[in-house]
């Protein structure tokens, strides 16, 4: 993938008609299958793909994605493997990295770190050891930070980030690094976000807004929250595309949400469910990939249908 024009590529994905933005955890259930699955989503009409870099404590995820994260970690997924994946995957849509802040924060520090270094931890092996707090001659890393991760992500062609545990208050350093390397920081807007927070949030955001359709954690659900329309109305003045996620699992739901004014739909758990099913059934990778592609087409088509149902044609609101 090319590393220039990240901003333009995301804008372009939302430019003509509603965007379909699927999510998968990279490495679920293994690296090779995951390549096939992400490529299947692109085949099925994805406009942007959110690639989950699994973190051991996914506090914003429901059981479906938690289990995906466990499978991915067990298959050996790491930030380094993730970047290899991004370089290798053969798709022509912008890729957004979805992960938790600690992985972004630590990257590039691994060499300097002594914690996981058994030899330094075992300096003494008596029953009790006084770890000297300072003046032990050991240099602590001056400061960790997001820059090395963002630089690496930019170099492999990532277009932006979604970081569920990073509210606007703490986003400064990541925003700065994203600016430096021309990447997007996509913020999540919750149903509980008030006007004041919204302004603060928009301030640090670019690319698109991830509009959380309902409270809670990720997970497919059969009904789409009433609060979605409300949220979209509140956001009508914001000059960024609004992609709605949390709980969308069918073409019909996608249509309803786009009809209500969304510029895009984000679907994770409903797709991860297909991966999980395939894994449990020991299904050949191509078959699971084919089912993912079919589901992707249904969701994309739903979004397009919903757009067509809008009355009157919403001039200028979708881009």
């Amino acid at each position: 993938m090319s590393d220039d024009g990240a901003s333009d590529r995301v804008a372009a994905a939302f430019a003509d008609g509603p965007a379909f933005v699927p999510y998968l955890a990279v490495g679920d259930p293994d690296y090779e299958s995951s390549l096939a699955y992400v490529e299947a989503l692109a085949e099925g009409g994805a406009d942007v793909i959110e690639l989950g870099l699994p973190f051991s404590e996914p506090i914003a995820e429901g059981p479906t994605i938690q289990n995906a994260v466990v499978r991915a970690l067990e298959s050996g997924m790491t930030p380094t493997r993730f970047f290899e994946f991004v370089e290798e995957v053969d798709v022509d849509v912008p890729l957004v990295c979805m992960t938790y802040y600690n992985l972004i924060y630590q990257y590039g520090e691994s060499e300097a770190r002594s914690v996981s270094d058994a030899s330094s931890a075992e300096r003494s092996s008596a029953n009790s050891r006084a770890a000297k707090p300072r003046d032990d001659g050991e240099e602590r890393p001056a400061s960790k930070g997001p820059r090395p991760f963002v630089e690496k992500a930019a170099s492999v062609g990532i277009s932006g980030f979604v970081v569920p545990d990073l509210p606007a208050e703490e986003a400064g350093p990541l925003r700065e690094a994203c600016d430096e390397f021309g990447l997007h920081l996509i913020s999540i807007v919750a149903p509980t976000t008030d006007e004041e927070r919204l302004d603060q949030l928009v301030e640090v955001s670019s690319g698109y807004l991830y509009v959380q359709a309902r409270l809670g954690v990720t997970g497919a659900s059969s009904s789409v929250s009433d609060r979605t329309g409300e949220s979209l109305a509140r956001l009508s003045d914001v000059d960024l595309p609004k992609a709605v996620g949390f709980g969308i699992s069918s073409g019909e739901q996608a249509a309803t949400i786009v009809e209500a004014g969304a510029d895009g739909i984000i679907v994770g758990s409903a797709l991860v469910d297909i991966v999980a099913e395939g894994h449990e059934r020991d299904e050949p990778t191509e078959e699971t990939a084919a089912r993912l592609e079919t589901k992707a087409r249904e969701l994309k088509q739903g979004a397009v249908d919903g757009y067509g149902r809008r009355t009157p044609a919403p001039e200028g609101t979708s881009d």
Binding site: F55, S56, I59, A118, A130, P133, R134, P167, E169, V217
Partner: protein, 445 residues
């Protein structure tokens, strides 16, 4: 505390101290500000956006009710923790240990607080605060079950529905506390992800909170999590050192040379240290769980210890930047300790800061030393300590000559909940001072 006057004076004192250390004043007159939640480079608010408004609301309530005693909140809290909780707890000279170690050893008896651990100080404070805020439901995580039990008791006392999340492994290790929570009318929800310990229970409680944030308050059980929790929990727990400082001075006419407390997340630790922090001559020791070894197996993603202050590195977990047990990439590793309550990969951000500053010395003892400490305090002083607390006594045994002439040790909790574990862990090891446990082999006859 004996009078209204003294009470508000004490809370003013705590308040102005809090302001000083945050390096900023609330501005007008005596008003105390909640600050920005940073302790040097640690702290902060790393949580999903959905929770931020609730955290803002909580910060506001903490500032109004706790720091500025609006509506007489702190007066009511102090009255209830006295009448319902049994404060003040005694400071007792440990005669046998003092003789054995040739050091004056004083015990701050938090094990005598209602519920059997220091946890009620915080749980009662937060449940009462939730009530003042108009919340309708309480949730909490628990490791050893002591915080869950304290929260269940406080919720019953204040008539609030309560649900406690607890790792499946901990449910099996701490069954008596599970019964206690149920008997107090709380729901106990097992958490099956990961190793089924405190870390997973916290993650799961945060998920519940993100779902029900509008009417629910999350009573976090230690000085961890996003601002304002680390500071607010410390304030509720600082009753321990408010009393202990006065008691030791009354008793000996001087400040102690050292203060020792075990550290998991660090709430009994911060509570025991808080009012001594300004006393430069008093050494503060935080005793972590050394588990079976201090080495981390990055390959397997496990640390056979919970010594995040001693061996951890800076990172972001459960809402705060702090010291963590993590691998090269930043994945949180599974911790281990014979005591559930210390079995956690993180630690409070303020404690991490005080360690960097050199004000608090992080130390640790392993599982065996903790078990030895458990048996020694039981046999020689007639106090069965929690296995968490026992770590402090393991440290006393090994390093009494570094603690000066007078030391205060916080007995954070009693060990009734740990009897099964203590018997099981003792029989499978060689603990020199343990009683003969053979009658328990193959079940109690």
């Amino acid at each position: 505390m004996s009078s209204e006057g003294e009470r508000s004076e004490a809370s003013d004192r705590a308040g102005s101290k809090a302001t000083r250390e945050n390096g900023r004043d609330g501005g007008d007159g005596d008003h105390v500000s909640a600050g920005d939640g940073k302790f040097g480079r640690y702290g902060g608010q790393y949580v999903p956006e959905a929770l931020m408004p609730a955290i803002g609301e909580l910060t506001d309530a903490y500032e109004r009710y706790v720091l500025n005693n609006e509506g007489g909140f702190m007066d009511e809290f102090r009255r209830r923790i006295r009448e319902f909780g049994g404060r003040p707890t005694p400071l007792q000279r440990a005669d046998r240990l003092s003789e054995r170690y040739d050091t004056e050893v004083y015990l701050k008896r938090e094990d005598l607080l209602h519920g059997g651990a220091h946890k009620l100080n915080n749980a009662l404070g937060q449940v009462l605060l939730a009530k003042y805020m108009g919340k309708e439901r309480i949730i909490a995580e628990t490791g050893a079950g002591q915080h869950g039990t304290a929260t269940a008791m406080a919720a019953a006392h204040l008539d609030m529905p309560c649900e406690v999340y607890m790792g499946e492994r901990d449910i099996n290790r701490q069954r008596p506390n599970v019964f206690r929570m149920k008997i107090n009318g709380s729901a106990v929800t097992p958490v099956t992800t990961g190793r089924g310990t405190l870390k997973e229970a916290i993650s799961e409680t945060m998920r519940d909170w993100a779902t029900n944030v509008e009417d629910t308050h999350y009573v976090i059980g230690s000085v961890v999590g996003p601002h304002p929790f680390p500071r607010m929990v410390r304030d509720f727990q600082s009753l321990i050192s408010e009393e202990a400082r006065e008691q030791i001075v009354d008793r000996t006419g001087a400040l102690p040379d050292s203060v020792v407390a075990c550290a998991g997340g660090g709430s009994n630790t911060m509570g025991t240290f808080h009012n001594f922090i300004g006393d430069e001559a008093v050494d503060l020791f935080a005793v972590e769980a050394g588990g079976s070894s201090l080495a981390v197996d990055a390959e397997e993603g496990v640390a056979p210890n919970s010594a995040s202050l001693s061996t951890g590195s800076e990172g972001v977990l459960h809402g705060a930047r702090t010291k963590l047990l993590q691998d090269h990439d930043g994945q949180i590793v599974e911790s281990h300790s014979v005591s559930s309550g210390l079995d956690y990969a993180g630690v409070g951000p303020e404690l991490a800061h005080l360690v960097d500053e050199g004000r608090v010395t992080p130390v640790n003892v392993d599982d065996d030393a903790a078990l030895e400490g458990f048996h020694r305090l039981s046999q020689e002083e007639g106090i069965i300590p929690a296995l968490e607390t026992a770590h402090a006594f393991g440290y006393l045994h090994e390093h009494h000559d570094e603690l000066g002439d007078v030391t205060v040790i916080n007995v954070s909790g009693r060990g009734d909940k740990d009897l099964d574990t203590a018997i099981e862990e003792t029989t499978k090891r060689d603990i020199p001072n343990a009683p003969d446990m053979s009658m328990f082999e193959g079940g109690l006859r």
